[in-house]
C-alpha cells in the first residue's frame, strides 16, 4: 500500500487540514478496533515511539503507540498554526514539520510566491524530503490552500514547482478554494489568476471549491435539521459538516462546518485506496481515467448524502436518491451545473453497502439526461469500497471532468480585468522583486487558453456524433 503526504498552506489550507486530520482519525478509530497499526492507517499516519529522541522512533507494525500525521504545515503568520498546536490535535502533528513566519503575505501572491518562496525554499525541501523518507512508497501529495489570499495562493503554488522537480513520480492533487463573488479581499482576482497559471502547469489534478457553494450546502442542512420535517431526527455524526467532537455543544468557529465538507471530500477520495472493496480505485486511477488531456485536469466534485436520518431501514429508493442528488447543481462544491454542460469523464466512488447492480441500475437511469463528449460516450469510472463513512450506511462521491467549470474561470477573468484595466493595486505586486507586468499578461493568457479549450468542447455538444471510418484490412 502507498502513503500520501498532506501539505496545508496558509490560513484556509491549515484550517481545512485540521478538520481533515480530525475526521480521518475518527474514521480509522471506528474501523480499527484492535489498535493495530495497519497499512490503511499508515497511508496517512506514522507510528512513533515518542520516548525515543530524534528520528529513530518510527515503528512499522504492531500496536499503535503514537500516531503522527504525514503532514507539513506552512503559514507565514503564526496565529492559525499556533492554535492548532494548542488544540486537541496537538499531539498528532510533528512539531518539526512546520514552517511559519510572523509577518504574513498581506494578501499578496507576489509576496507569498517570490519573497517567501525563495526565502523558505531550502527549508521546504528539507521538510518534504523528511516526509518522503518516512514513507515506504509515497504516491501522492495533497496540497490544500485558497486561491484568493497571499500565502496559500502564492507560496502554495510555488510549492508545486518544487514538488514537480524534486518528486516527479509523485502525484500532486490540489484542493483549491476559489474566492466567491463577495470576497472581502480586493486583490483576490489577481492572486487567483496568478495562481491558476501555476495550477495549469504544475498540478496533476485540481479540485476547485467555492465558498458560496459550501455556504449554500450548509444552509440546506440547517433547514433540514431545524424544520423537524417528517418527524425524524438526523444522526448528528452523519452530518457532512460535523466534526469529530460534534456531540459536545462547543463553540464552533465560523468556517468549521464548511471546512468539514472539504475534509470529507478528501476522506472519500482516498477511502477506496485505504480500505477494501469489491472494486478498488487507487489514487493513480483518478488521474488516469479523469484526465484525457494534461491541461484539462479540473474536477468538479459532489458529495452525497449530506446527512443520514436515524431510520435504519434504507430502502433502495433512498439509495437511488443519493445517485440523483450527486448530479444536482445544489450538491456540487463549486457553482456549476454539470447536467447542462458536457462531460468528458465521470467517476462514481461509492462507499458502504452498495453493490454493482445498484451502480449499474443508477448509471442506466441517469445516463440519458447527461451529455458526454463524442469520443467518450460511456466514460464512467466506478469504485466500490466496503467501508462506509462514520455515521452513514453508504455514501457517494462524484468527480466530473465537465465543461461546467468554465463559468467559474470566465467570471474570475472578468473580475481580474476590471481591476487590471485600471491598474488598481498593481504597484503592490510590481514592487516585489521578480514581478513584472508580463507575469500578469502570461497568467491571463494561460487562463484564456484553458477557457478556449472548454469552449471548443462545448461547441461539439449539439453536433451529431459522427462515426469515424474504421481501418479496413485485407483478410
Amino acid at each position: 500500500m502507498t502513503q500520501s503526504v498532506v501539505i496545508q498552506v496558509g490560513q484556509c489550507g491549515n484550517q481545512i487540514g485540521c478538520c481533515f486530520w480530525d475526521l480521518v482519525l475518527r474514521e480509522h478509530a471506528a474501523v480499527n478496533q484492535k489498535g493495530i497499526y495497519d497499512e490503511a492507517i499508515s497511508s496517512f499516519f506514522r507510528n512513533v515511539d515518542t520516548r525515543v529522541i530524534g528520528d529513530g522512533g518510527s515503528i512499522s507494525k504492531g500496536k499503535i503507540r503514537s500516531l503522527k500525521a504525514r503532514a507539513v504545515l506552512i503559514d507565514m503568520e503564526e496565529g492559525v498554526v499556533n492554535e492548532i498546536l494548542q488544540g486537541p490535535l496537538r499531539d498528532v502533528f510533528d512539531s518539526k514539520q512546520l514552517i511559519t513566519d510572523i509577518s504574513g503575505s498581506g494578501n499578496n501572491w507576489a509576496v507569498g510566491h517570490k519573497v517567501f518562496g525563495s526565502l523558505y525554499q531550502e527549508k521546504i525541501l528539507e521538510k518534504l524530503r523528511k516526509s518522503a523518507e518516512h514513507c515506504d512508497c509515497l504516491q501522492c501529495f495533497f496540497i490544500i490552500h485558497s486561491m484568493g489570499g497571499g500565502t496559500g495562493s502564492g507560496l502554495g503554488t510555488f510549492l508545486l514547482k518544487v514538488l514537480e522537480d524534486e518528486f516527479p513520480e509523485v502525484y500532486r492533487f490540489v484542493t483549491s478554494v476559489y474566492p466567491s463573488g463577495e470576497d472581502d479581499v480586493i486583490t483576490s482576482p489577481y492572486n487567483s489568476i496568478l495562481a491558476m497559471k501555476e495550477l495549469n502547469e504544475h498540478a496533476d489534478c485540481v479540485l476547485p471549491i467555492d465558498n458560496q457553494s459550501l455556504f449554500d450546502i450548509i444552509s440546506k442542512i440547517d433547514l433540514m435539521v431545524n424544520s423537524g420535517k417528517l418527524g425524524k431526527t438526523v444522526k448528528p455524526k452523519s452530518l457532512i459538516t460535523s466534526n469529530a467532537g460534534a456531540f459536545k455543544k462547543q463553540q464552533r468557529r465560523p468556517f468549521d462546518a464548511m471546512n468539514n465538507i472539504v475534509a470529507n471530500l478528501l476522506l472519500n477520495l482516498t477511502s477506496s485506496a485505504r480500505f477494501e472493496g469489491s472494486l478498488n480505485m487507487d489514487i493513480n486511477e483518478i488521474s488516469m481515467n479523469l484526465v484525457p488531456f494534461p491541461q484539462l485536469h479540473y474536477l468538479v466534485s459532489s458529495l452525497t448524502p449530506l446527512y443520514t436520518l436515524a431510520d435504519i431501514n434504507v430502502p433502495p429508493r433512498r439509495l437511488d436518491q443519493m445517485f440523483s442528488d450527486a448530479f444536482s447543481k445544489d450538491h456540487q462544491l463549486i457553482q456549476a451545473d454539470p447536467k447542462h454542460s458536457l462531460y468528458l469523464a465521470c467517476a462514481l466512488m461509492v462507499r458502504g453497502n452498495v453493490q454493482v447492480s445498484d451502480l449499474r441500475r443508477n448509471i442506466e437511469r441517469l445516463k440519458p439526461s447527461l451529455q458526454f463528449v463524442s469520443w467518450n460516450q460511456e466514460g464512467w469510472k466506478t469504485s466500490l469500497c466496503s467501508v462506509p463513512p462514520v455515521g452513514h450506511s453508504h455514501s457517494l462521491l462524484a468527480l466530473a471532468n465537465n465543461t461546467c467549470v468554465k463559468p467559474t474561470f470566465v467570471e474570475l477573468r472578468e473580475r481580474f480585468m476590471r481591476l487590471y484595466k485600471k491598474k488598481a493595486h498593481l504597484h503592490h505586486y510590481l514592487q516585489v522583486e521578480g514581478m513584472e507586468e508580463s507575469c500578469f499578461t502570461e497568467a491571463v493568457s494561460s487562463l484564456s487558453a484553458l477557457i478556449q479549450e472548454y469552449s471548443q468542447l462545448d461547441a461539439t455538444k449539439s453536433m451529431p456524433v459522427e462515426d469515424i471510418p474504421r481501418l479496413s484490412v485485407a483478410v
Binding site: S278, E285, P294, S374, W380, R470
Partner: protein, 351 residues
C-alpha cells in the same frame, strides 16, 4: 496432469478464489448417480489437477497470486485460510506496493520487466511441484491495468519459457457502460497481444453474467461476489474430468472439452472432428445433471466489434494517449493492435 493457475490483479484474484472454492466443494459434494469407485477416481483426478497435498492434509491450490498492490491478495489469502478446508501456498504470492493505475502501459512496460524474474520464479516453483504439467490457466480482466497489461506480459513469457504447455486465458470482458474509462484501450491492447501468445481465450462478459444473476437466478442486489460465483461454477463444470474412450473408469485429463453446435460447422472442418462429446456420470456441485457448453463461434464478433469501435473513436481524438506514451506505448502500438483485431473481426465475419 496438473494445471497451474495464475491469478492476476483484483479481478483475477477474486475470481480465482471462487474457482478453487467451487472445485474443492464439488469434489467433496454428493456423487449423484455414479458409483463409489467412480467417485473416488473423479475426486482424485480433480484434486491432482488443481491441488497438491500438504502434510496435515489440507490441500494447497496449485496457484500463483499476483497483484501490484496488497489489499486484494491479503483478502483472498485470508478467505481461503478461513474456510479451513483448502488454502493457498504460503509463498505463492507476489505483491508490490503501488497498483497499475488502470494503465495497460504501466502493467506491461513497467511492472512486467521489473518483476519478471520474481514472478517467473514463483511460477517455476509451482510447476516443479507438479508430476506432469498440462498447462497454465491465467485469470485476468482486460479492462484494468495489472490483469490486462501484466497479464499480457506474463502470458508472453510463459509462451517463451514453457512453449510445450497449454496456455488458456480466462478473460473478463468489462461491462459495456464502463467500469474503467480507458477500458477499451486496455482491452484492445490486451487482446492483440494475447492473440499471439495464448492458445485459448475463454471469454466471460460481465454484462452476460450479470443478466444470468438477474434473470435466471433472481438475485435482487447483485454483488461482484455473486457474479464471480456464477463464473466459477461455469468454469468448474468445464474443467470436470471426463471419461476417456479407453475405459469407463479411466478419467481423461484433458482440460478442454465441450459440445459444439452442429449449425456452426464451417465448410473446411469435418463434422466428426469438430463435434466432441465428453461425458461423465458424476454429478457436479450439487446438481445431479449439468451440461457445459464451450464454443468457438461468431458470438464474439459483436462485443469485439463494439470495443474496437469505441476504442477507435477515442483514439481518433487522441484522448488519454499521453498516459500511455508516458510509459513507452506509442501510437504505432495502438495501430498495430487495431489492425490485428480488425482482421480477427473480418475473419469471423467471413465464416
Amino acid at each position: 496432469m496438473s494445471i497451474v493457475t495464475v491469478q492476476l490483479g483484483q479481478c483475477g484474484n477474486q475470481i480465482g478464489f471462487e474457482v478453487f472454492d467451487t472445485l474443492f466443494s464439488d469434489s467433496h459434494s454428493s456423487q449423484g448417480l455414479c458409483s463409489k469407485k467412480e467417485n473416488e477416481a473423479y475426486q482424485a483426478s480433480c484434486k491432482e489437477r488443481f491441488f497438491r497435498e500438504e502434510e496435515n492434509g489440507v490441500p494447497i491450490a496449485r496457484a500463483v497470486l499476483v497483484d501490484m498492490e496488497p489489499k486484494v491478495i491479503n483478502q483472498t489469502l485470508s478467505k481461503a485460510a478461513r474456510s479451513g478446508q483448502w488454502k493457498y501456498g504460503e509463498h505463492a504470492c507476489f505483491c508490490q506496493k503501488q497498483g497499475s493505475g488502470n494503465n495497460w502501459a504501466y502493467g506491461y512496460s513497467v511492472h512486467g520487466p521489473r518483476n519478471e524474474e520474481s514472478i517467473m520464479n514463483l511460477i517455476q516453483k509451482e510447476v516443479e511441484k507438479c508430476d506432469s504439467l498440462s498447462g497454465f490457466f491465467i485469470i485476468m480482466s482486460i479492462a484494468g491495468g495489472t490483469g490486462s497489461g501484466l497479464g499480457a506480459f506474463i502470458t508472453q513469457n510463459l509462451q517463451d519459457q514453457y512453449s510445450n504447455s497449454l496456455r488458456m486465458n480466462q478473460i473478463i470482458w468489462p461491462y459495456g457502460t464502463g467500469e474503467v474509462i480507458v477500458q477499451n484501450y486496455n482491452s484492445i491492447l490486451t487482446l492483440s497481444h494475447l492473440y499471439r501468445s495464448s492458445d485459448a481465450l475463454l471469454v466471460h462478459e460481465n454484462d452476460a453474467v450479470h443478466k444470468i444473476c438477474a434473470k435466471l437466478m433472481n438475485i435482487k442486489q447483485i454483488s461482484f461476489s455473486d457474479i464471480n460465483q456464477v463464473l466459477a461454477h461455469q468454469l468448474g463444470s468445464v474443467f470436470q474430468p471426463t471419461y476417456s474412450e479407453e475405459g469407463s473408469f479411466h478419467y481423461r485429463r484433458n482440460p478442454l472439452e465441450g459440445f459444439k453446435d452442429p449449425a456452426l460447422y464451417t465448410s473446411w472442418l469435418e463434422p466428426d472432428t469438430a463435434f466432441n462429446v465428453w461425458k461423465t456420470q458424476r454429478a457436479f456441485n450439487r446438481y445431479e445433471k449439468s451440461a457445459a457448453l464451450v464454443s468457438n463461434s461468431q458470438f464474439l464478433i459483436r462485443p469485439l466489434d463494439m470495443i474496437v469501435g469505441k476504442a477507435w473513436n477515442m483514439f481518433a481524438s487522441k484522448a488519454y494517449i499521453h498516459q500511455y506514451t508516458k510509459f513507452g506505448i506509442e501510437e504505432e502500438d495502438f495501430l498495430d493492435s487495431f489492425t490485428l483485431l480488425e482482421q480477427v473481426v473480418s475473419s469471423y465475419s467471413n465464416i
